[in-house]
Amino acid sequence: MDDRTGLPKMIGKTARHLVPPDAKWWYVFGTATLCAFMVQVISGVALAFAYIPSAGEAYTTLHFISDQAPFGHFLRGLHYYGASAMVLMVGLHMAQVFLFGAYKFPRELNWATGVLLLGFTLVMGFTGQLLRWDQNAVWSVVVGAEQAARVPLIGQWLAHFILGGDTVGGATLTRFFAIHVFIMPAFIFAFVGLHLWLVLRHGVSEPPKPGKLVDPKTYRAEYQQMLEKTGKPFWPDAAWRDTIFCTGLIVFVVALAFFSGAPPLDKPPDPSVVAASPRPDWYLLWYFGVLALLPHGTEKYFMVFGPLLAGIILIALPFVSNRGERSPRRRPWAVVAVIMTVLMIVTLWVAGAKSPWSPNFNAPPLSASVVGATNGPVMLGAELFHDKGCLNCHLIGKDGGRRGPDLTDVADRLSKNEMILKIANGAVNMPAYAGNLTPSKMDALVAFLQTRKRNGHDR
């Protein structure tokens, strides 16, 4: 066998390549990412046995997979949680490599290919969410195209590209399907191959020691010397940790998929149904938060240059700084950068999940106990507060939206005249109601708001 194929020898030699002896549990995240990717390939191929990438039929097959096909509910869940695991592991892997300074000489290209793989993973996440072809998916595409169209110069062309035509329709889904199932996986396979080849070529980086600087002139020789003196074969001395961690990850993902199943399907993908509130899946929810919180008017520039700039900075990093200190203890700014990034994403993620900037369309009319009156102008004003859409954006107690200021105690802050002025003229984020309310209705509304005090009225 060995003589005819040469494979056993080659595989054995590769598997037993020497690695630094103290590369331990910190070094498992890369393998874990690959492992999550393999789960995605296998579950994705399985799903493709039943999924029809047709704008008119995908939704039906999704219901079939979720509700009727044996293990279908589990498989969709597996693909979803597998994707989540992959995104998480990519993030952890990247943070570890950055903190350990492992991107420095001679591993600059390991890092650069890794950044590209991060981008591919996010594209897979976004396109994968769209293949869950429900109302949310259709609106995600439309919202994506509308945003792209605001980009200067190439906007309309970009929108056309995303939709695969003039509007969302038959061509939209097939294109995303081809990208998600053929093109992106091909790129990922190719770049994972390259990434792994580079790992073998330059060796696994040794854990950093404070004060031990990377000098491109001497690094390779020192690394080789260290391996010859203390290196351990990757298989099985180091690989067992990867195996254990990956198995744990798979057990966790399988358990999640088993107990919580597939992500729920939204309404059918009918773009003429207007009652929709598009939201991305959790791993892009923070970006949704970014777009919501940007100063008005800047989003069209940010949408293009933001990701572009982030990509350029990430790829350029090892070429700008490829020598010197590797230990995070001597690189406080690296630690700060990681902590700030994590904090930023978590904060934006929480903000995106709460999305206080979204009006609340489901606020029921205020109850009599909240209003504190069952007749007269106060009650009438409370009804108007609901009917005129005030409650969509303002809180009264626990009811209403959070887009505008909380009006629970507004009478403590504003006099009657100030209220009338504000309501009639509006503000940057509030419509002017002057032409919308008759004087008697304005009086009723203000009468209601005048009862909104911390103390002094019945709740």
Binding site: S54, G56, E146, A276, A292, G389, P431, A432
Partner: protein, 178 residues
């Protein structure tokens, strides 16, 4: 590609000048033949994939209801079919617009897409406002911006009345603001 003598004359392989020029010829022949083969496959593939970008978009008039079914001063959601839906488009072939009857003869058809980031705006009849569920963009009943982040009024479709039918001229989304 710059060819040097070293590349064409590997160690242990003595070559006469004639052999060297033959080798150079074979290398060029292979690259050229491979390039022709690749182009023959790649050009139609690129054409197939990129065709949608060069297709001219058709616009057609679609009836959205009888004129009498829209009361003066009201705004209603109307549905219609896209200009040239693919046979397998299913429900995705449908589009919607907000149709406002201003007076006996005047109709306005608004895009349902907020000009901020494209979310579908909803009409609140009692409040006489359009409101966007994403970031709280608000528009008055004539589509002008009342509040929030939208940079421009709601775009409009062309509307006409033909034989008592209200018709909307389909347009690509997003409608470029004219």
């Amino acid at each position: 590609m710059k060819e040097t003598n070293a590349e064409n004359n590997p160690a242990g392989c003595p070559a006469s000048p004639a052999e060297l020029s033959r080798r150079k010829f074979f290398a060029r022949l292979s690259v050229a033949a491979g390039g022709i083969g690749a182009l023959m496959v790649a050009l139609p593939v690129a054409g197939f994939i990129l065709a949608p970008f060069f297709e001219r978009h058709k616009e057609v008039w679609r009836s959205v209801g009888k004129m009498d079914s829209f009361k003066i001063g009201t705004t209603t959601a109307v549905q219609y079919e896209d200009a040239s839906p693919l046979p397998w488009a299913g429900v995705t072939a449908r589009s919607a617009a907000w149709l406002r009857r201003v007076d006996a003869d005047t109709f306005i058809a608004f895009s349902i897409n907020c000009t901020h980031l494209g979310c579908p705006v909803r009409w609140l009849a009692e409040a006489d406002l359009f409101m966007c569920p994403c970031h709280g963009g608000v528009y008055y009943n004539d589509g002008t911006v009342a509040a929030g982040p939208p940079p421009a009024p709601l775009p409009r479709y062309q509307v006409r009345v033909l034989n008592g039918d209200v018709q909307i001229l389909t347009a690509q989304i997003p409608i470029s603001s004219k």
